[in-house]
Amino acid sequence: MFGYLIRSVLQAIMVMVAVAFIAFSMFRYVGDPVASIVGQDATIKDRQELADSLGLNDPLILQFGRFLGNAAKGDFGISYRQGRPVATLLRERLPATIELAVISAALALFIGLGLGIYTALRRDGWAANLVMSLSLIGVSLPTFLIGIGLIYFFGVVLRWLPTFGRGETVAFGWWTTGLLTESGRKSLILPVVTLGFYQLTLIMRLVRSEMLEVMRADYIRFARARGLTDSTINFRHALKNTMIPVVSITGMQLGSIVAFAITTETVFNWPGLGALFVKSVEVVDIPVMGAYLMFVGLIFVVVNLVVDMLYFLIDPRLSAGRTVAAK
């Protein structure tokens, strides 16, 4: 059993290191650290000296190690654009993104799961077909259009909800939350719907197709042949078997919901990490880009680790020491 866990952790670390390396390469080779510090008139000798003092001529491994060490401490350098430490920027914007992401994820998960099961079991009903058609539209609609549409209807035409920003927030130490104020809560509604909608349709379609697949399995046929009731077959057997691939893929989806938030944050002027990232791409602010990449990588890796643990709890075949075949 521990072999499985250790393997998962090792894989997680490897992925993190790979992501860090990409970020490091960006820092080091795209854009010029030296040029951003000295002016145009510096001589070659000056640049060389600066490069030496910054450690830019040391062996690559050493530089990378230094980068990792700094990253672990939360030091990502200074933003080219804003002149402030990147870590500070990240910290300011983190709560906005986390609140948005977590609430959207929870919504998408529960509704998506429920609808997925419903449309699988009531496959030929009109309600199921309607839901499936709507979901197809959901996958075809670009998120930013959904956002714009919602803003227009609920913000401009109906004037029920705010059209941008987080509303008033309450601070707890360095964390800020919008959940405690009415304007904060109202501001959350449209962005959550926008962000969650795409995730929801994905999860729903996934659950449905996995469940349909499971319903065709031999053990379900045998269960039928033994005269088990529909509810036993659907909700005891089929559901449990569906969960395995669903948990794994859903986990990966939700792990990157922070990244999916980029579009939503931009459309709603939500002061989160995603909006920060887009800005940084526009102006080629490499430190911010790199730091964002590492952060997203971290979230992804952590969520995946949690998913692996869950897998372990659900599938008894794993405790026997075998690994589940990769999909």
């Binding site: 980029i262 887009v278 990449l293 992804f300």
Partner: protein
Amino acid sequence: MAATDAPKPTLRQRLNDSDLWLAFKDSPIAVAAAITTVLIFVLAFFAPVFAPQDAFNPAALNLMDGFTHPMERGAGSSMLFVLGSDAQGRDMLSALFYGTRVSLIVGLCSVGFSMVLGISLGLIAGYVGGRVEQLIMRIADIQLSFPGLLIALLIFGVARGLIPPNKHETTALFVIIIAIGLAHWAQYARTVRASAMVERNKDYVQAARLIGIKGLPIMAKHILPNVMGPVLVIATINLALAVIEEATLSFFGVGMPVTQPSLGTLIRFGQQYLMSGEWWILLFPALTIVILGLAINLLGDWLRDAMNPKLR
């Protein structure tokens, strides 16, 4: 032996009899989606022929036509603006044709790029096996869980950092195609590699290796026909995704520039006029993207169901 006394069926007969065609005729949705897609493609690629106005040539515009409502004549040139005009007197209908053309070019090229890259990597992974295969597949797995948008944005940003600013606009098309293309190779690689894994143990590959001929081209020749079906399904769905992603990037302001606008760029402009009442500048490009995306997705969905042997 069941003797075939009848003459060998012609290609036309074989096509007519094929399962795919039968399924296609049966499904009104598939037919509608296909017709819509073809229509949009034709209108877009032959934009110079169909468009009433050369929308992105400043010389063809008349400022006095600005903000004409749909189905009204412009104040300056008295031209009929079927879908209205924007701030510079640009005919929205024509802008739509040209913009869609750009969107489709980006979409098709990036899909082509992804396909070539993905299939190649999948073949290599499947053929070589071992560490190389594991590495490629790991990367593919990780990449699949991230939104293509993030990867495309990242690549775009890096490219911007490497290309001098004065060349940004002219290279935008290439950069976007490569960025979106690089974000989506993983699905193809996975499918092809699965096929390759089956093939590489077969006798003819082993034999080739023994003699010293490279097994890879021979294996490719056998795998590719089998794998074309699923690849086509992936490509279709990928196309819709690529078009939407490009629109999103342009909407952010990091995609196609003003001089060569795509539907996303048009939407970006339209957005500022939405609140002030000139709704048509935003609505029509938005509608086009939705219809295009929907039609392609429907086709892709239908194609996948039609090719699934278990559902026949």
